[in-house]
Symmetry: C2
Subunit: 158 residues, 2 copies
Amino acid sequence: MNINEKYMKEALKEAKKAYNKLEVPVGAIIVKDGKIIARAHNLKETKNDTTYHAEIIAIKKASKKLESWRLNGCDMYVTLEPCPMCAGALIASRINKVYIGTMDEKTGACGSVLNLLKDYKFNHCVESETGILKSECEEILKSFFKDLRKYKSTKDCN
Amino acid sequence: MNINEKYMKEALKEAKKAYNKLEVPVGAIIVKDGKIIARAHNLKETKNDTTYHAEIIAIKKASKKLESWRLNGCDMYVTLEPCPMCAGALIASRINKVYIGTMDEKTGACGSVLNLLKDYKFNHCVESETGILKSECEEILKSFFKDLRKYKSTKDCN
């Protein structure tokens, strides 16, 4: 297991926490100088707030830790391709690089629906790399939606 | 003064609060059924957190008030064109329509650099209208950056 896979494993641990809270299982961590400085998982339903995506929470935690909104020199590992809001936050926070597990064909803004990180000229450029532990990042989402369908069909029968 | 200008005046009041805190003067309000349910202004420097844009704070406040992340039926009035993060948050929160004061040629994601609201197929479509009290929304930004330059050049002399 290389270093990127090791960090993605940590993001997957966060995704599992979301799963256990009946949240779409997405996890993210932020690394600086070889240290994990922020961990977060999706809490949108729990908090009833669409800005509680794993990436946004992680960015907020890292900013608090570093006492700066500038996250230059920081890398994010996230299990699912960021949506436009989160990709925009990566640019605005000046994150160095984002490592992505699996892609999101419906709302992904780092190569799927569009690529905010590469196709436009903003004041900061975020590097990206995709497919880190892709199967595991895909599997946890598939499993979650399968469980959700099962739960909903059981509910419909009662 | 029509109803849209009246609401943009309220967003401008918020922008002025940001100005007085030495923040880039951007203000936003959210309206539902003719009532202002959230008011916010940019607090990025104060909070040392790039997610503290006026639009994101307003969305969080509205979600809290409505106890829902779904802001269907809500309109936002914002003095400056939203960046990708904020335009993405408008889509994700299912806001009905965004009324924009002036455009942001450098980072605007509702028609300037790109148009996240119109050029892509996401699961929700946000309507938009631009140029509401454009001169006033432009003027407050110009005045702020003029003051900032003056302040910086005074500092450089000391």
